[in-house]
């Protein structure tokens, strides 16, 4: 089987993290975002993966070569010379996708969930039509495009309603699809949208079905959602009883959902959790309080600091008695001075912060 991952640009919405690494290489739950997807695809029997990007991904090549070896798969990078939207990249990669007649997966690289590729493929095969899109149920459908089924049919899509004012349903497009190769005939090689153009045409012909997603779903394309998505991911690990998580029997674990890389060092009298991810080679000092935050590889949180709803970027350092909160994001190699308060600061790489950031701001 084959899959195409829509990576697109460098991921400006996830800056300042993506000033250092392209989005697919940013660690989510201590694992690069792209690896979550490659792992799940490989597990479902996918052997060919295309990454649709519109930048030169030199930094990615090393990792991708490693993953090819690790999973015994082929990874192709398909570079758009101009952005082709969400459907154009499929046409661009037509050659690989048409390698055989089996259907192929398409997924947005920003989406995190418990990827149900196997079940999706089985369901797709069972209805025999051209395409299946994964849908997830949301509380407030008015903010999204909602899917409406044909009357008296559990999965065949009748229409899409963009930002419905009246309740017509609560299933939305989760950004994961399985399509027959015949769909490629519907797409022209130009900037075009799969959601706006390709799918409505398939719906016209009664060729598009929906598949309900179990468990969590999140678009983690920006820092606020990255943190929320991390919480959902850690909760799902807890639910599964994953041994990746740090056991609650550790005296510093507070409220569970704590994922700590074995190489990280934790000081005395800390209170960590809930919803904390600590990457490799991180050093956490004494009396540190961490909750709802991500500490990327090589970062350091010094004694008595208090960190909440924050992403501490790679190799950054948080000073003693510092306090970070309200979606603060530190880029690579940022230093926060002792006793400094940062409220919603987005700090670009290699900066040193010596004065409080009292209200949300970008520190260039």
């Amino acid at each position: 089987m084959k899959a195409l991952i829509l990576v697109g640009g460098f991921g400006t919405r996830l800056r300042p993290l993506t000033l250092t690494l392209p989005k697919p290489l940013v660690e989510f739950g201590n694992k690069r975002m792209i690896l979550h997807q490659i792992e799940a695809l490989a597990a479902a029997g996918v052997t060919d993966i295309i990454l649709a990007v519109n930048y030169r991904p030199e930094v990615m090549e090393k990792y991708l070569a490693e993953y090819e070896k690790q999973f015994g798969i082929n990874i192709t990078i398909s570079i758009e010379s101009e952005p082709l939207g969400t459907a154009g990249p499929l046409k661009l990669a037509e050659e690989v996708l048409r390698k055989d007649n089996s259907p192929f997966f398409v997924l947005n690289s920003d989406v995190t969930c418990e990827y149900p590729f196997k079940e999706l493929a089985e369901f797709h095969k069972s209805h025999g039509d051209e395409g299946t899109i994964v849908v997830t149920k949301v509380e407030e459908p008015s903010k999204y495009g909602v899917i409406v089924h044909k009357p008296n049919h559990p999965s065949r899509i009748d229409r899409f309603v963009e930002k419905p004012v009246q309740f017509v349903g609560n299933r939305i497009n989760a950004g994961i699809y399985i399509l027959n190769t015949s769909v490629l005939e519907r797409i022209e090689l130009r900037p075009t949208s799969i959601e706006q153009e390709t799918f409505p045409a398939m719906v016209e012909d009664g060729q598009l079905h929906s598949f309900d997603l179990e468990g969590f779903w999140m678009d983690v394309g920006q820092p606020k959602d990255f943190l929320t998505g991390t919480c959902l991911y850690l909760s799902s690990l807890t639910k599964k009883g994953s041994d990746l998580l740090t056991p609650s029997t550790e005296p510093f674990v507070h409220g569970g959902n704590v994922l700590i890389d074995p190489s990280a060092k934790i000081g005395k009298n800390c209170r960590i959790g809930p919803n904390v991810t600590i990457g490799p080679d991180v050093v956490v000092g004494d009396g540190v309080r961490l909750q709802r935050c991500v500490l990327m590889a090589g970062s350091k949180v010094k004694d008595h600091a208090w960190v909440k709803s924050t992403i501490v970027g790679w190799n950054s350092s948080v000073g003693r008695w510092a306090r970070l909160e309200n979606v603060t994001v530190l880029g690579d190699d940022v230093t926060i001075g002792d006793e400094i308060y940062v409220n919603g600061g987005s700090v670009l790489p290699h900066k040193t912060i010596k004065a409080n950031v009292d209200s949300p701001a970008i520190i260039m």
Partner: protein, 442 residues
């Protein structure tokens, strides 16, 4: 006015004449800007650098050998200063300290005049008058020396401030060579001088009371303008009206009513201090005052201060009954009051922690005053904003709104674990369970 009364013969050559000191302490209805702290303790008795504000005045007074008698004049109740005077009498055995209570607010000069007989008893040659709401090094001996050199009738302590700040104070124009005061205006509208009145004076006993008396006389003689009432109120308010006027006449202030005239007619000199000086008006101004007195104590080699260590940035005052965990980091410019506790890994900087207050583990207290028996929870952050060293202002502009720079918790307040409080003033007995910034919490 031009008549020079030959009353200075005693001052000629007799430098050993007795001197007395008066500390003007005000009353409970004054000093409202010192709230919420003055809701629980009279401002003159508030502890900065481990001691009541007026204790710092007394230590300076004690260093003048010719002073044996000190009066506190104000209109607080008698009992207010009883314990302080008792303690001070043993701490300053060479000083006799008495509280003279005004039956009503008479003004800074009116109070002095009211108690003139007590003050003049024993025929002192000089009288120091100190406002209790200033924080400075009180160079009283230097002022006395200048008075003797210049054969002065009055000496005022002056300091230079920025030109923008000057018109918030009494402004002194002086002859830079002779140091004689040529002109004095209280809080002028326009810029006159950046040499300002520090609220510390030395008067010749022979000049002070006659000057106040003539100010009272001027007040009484002055035709009253705009005091006519409408006819329907006339009859009923007649008696009260009269009484009110006589009260008003007795409110005579040194700054507004006396110093200007002295500049015109007397041998009035200014001693300009290059040392620190701050007003203690708002509650937040206790923080710079605390810092300045602690730094002075450090310079003087005071044994009271905590010794330096890895977790202590000097100067820091820790009361002997306070408990500070060895992993807590304190300083600079911190005072920890009696029986206060600072737990493991807590951080306290540029702050005053009052009696019985409790700072829990890993909490952070910066530029704040933690009230008596207040509690700061674990990992909480109580924070003010530093103001420039040269600033005489204790407010800062945040998002276009003027807020108090120093965070103040009144008596028995509680800040929950992990809660953040920034630039807030919290009245007594409040519990803070959510993050707050730039607020007054009633």
């Amino acid at each position: 006015m031009s008549l020079q009364i030959p009353h200075r013969e005693r001052s000629n050559g007799s430098s050993g004449g007795a001197t007395k000191a008066v500390i003007l302490v005000g009353g409970a209805s004054r000093g409202t800007r010192f709230r919420p702290l003055s809701l629980d303790v009279p401002k003159p008795l508030f502890d900065v650098a481990g001691h009541p504000i007026i204790w710092h005045c007394l230590t300076a007074i004690e260093k003048v050998p010719s002073i044996q008698e000190v009066y506190l004049i104000g209109y607080y109740e008698e009992a207010v200063f009883r314990d302080f005077i008792k303690d001070s009498s043993s701490e300053f055995p060479n000083l006799s300290i008495k509280y003279l209570r005004e039956y009503q607010a008479l003004g800074t000069a009116g109070g002095l005049y009211h108690f003139r007989d007590a003050i003049l008893k024993g025929r002192p040659e000089h009288i120091f008058v100190l406002n209790s709401d200033v924080c400075c090094s009180f160079p009283l001996n230097e002022m006395l020396k200048l008075a003797q050199e210049k054969d002065a009738e009055a000496v005022i302590l002056g300091t230079r401030v920025s030109e923008e700040a000057a018109n918030n104070f009494g402004c002194i124009v002086s002859d830079s060579h002779t140091r004689r005061v040529l002109h004095y205006v209280e809080k002028p509208e326009s810029y006159i001088s950046n040499l300002i009145n520090c609220g510390v004076y030395l008067f010749s006993a022979d000049v002070l009371f006659p000057s106040i008396r003539s100010a009272i006389k001027r007040r009484t003689d002055r035709p009253r303008l705009g005091s006519y009432r409408s006819s329907e109120n006339m009859a009923s308010s007649f008696m009260i009206d009269d009484d009110e006027d006589s009260q008003k006449n007795e409110v005579i202030r040194l700054e507004q009513d006396i110093l200007g005239d002295m500049a015109d007619s007397k041998q009035f000199f200014v001693y300009e201090t290059k040392d620190f000086w701050r007003q203690i008006k708002t509650a937040g101004s206790a923080i710079p005052a605390n810092a300045l007195y602690l730094q002075k104590a450090q310079q003087d080699g005071s044994k009271e201060l905590a010794p330096p260590s890895a977790n202590l940035i000097q100067p820091v005052y820790i009361h002997p009954t306070a408990h500070v965990h060895p992993t807590a980091k304190l300083g600079p410019n911190v005072s920890i009051g009696p029986r206060a506790t600072v737990d493991a890994g807590a951080r306290v900087k540029e702050s005053i922690v009052l009696e019985d207050a409790e700072i829990k583990h890993d909490a952070c207290v910066l530029y704040s005053i933690i009230g008596w028996s207040s509690r700061v929870g674990a990992w909480a952050r109580v924070e003010g904003t530093p103001t420039p060293v040269t600033s005489h202002n204790t407010s800062v502009i945040k998002n276009g709104v003027k807020v108090q720079a120093i965070t103040i918790l009144g008596k028995e307040c509680a800040v929950g674990d992990e809660i953040r409080v920034q630039n807030c003033v919290c009245l007594p007995f409040k519990e803070l369970k959510r993050d707050v910034a730039n607020e007054v919490i009633m």
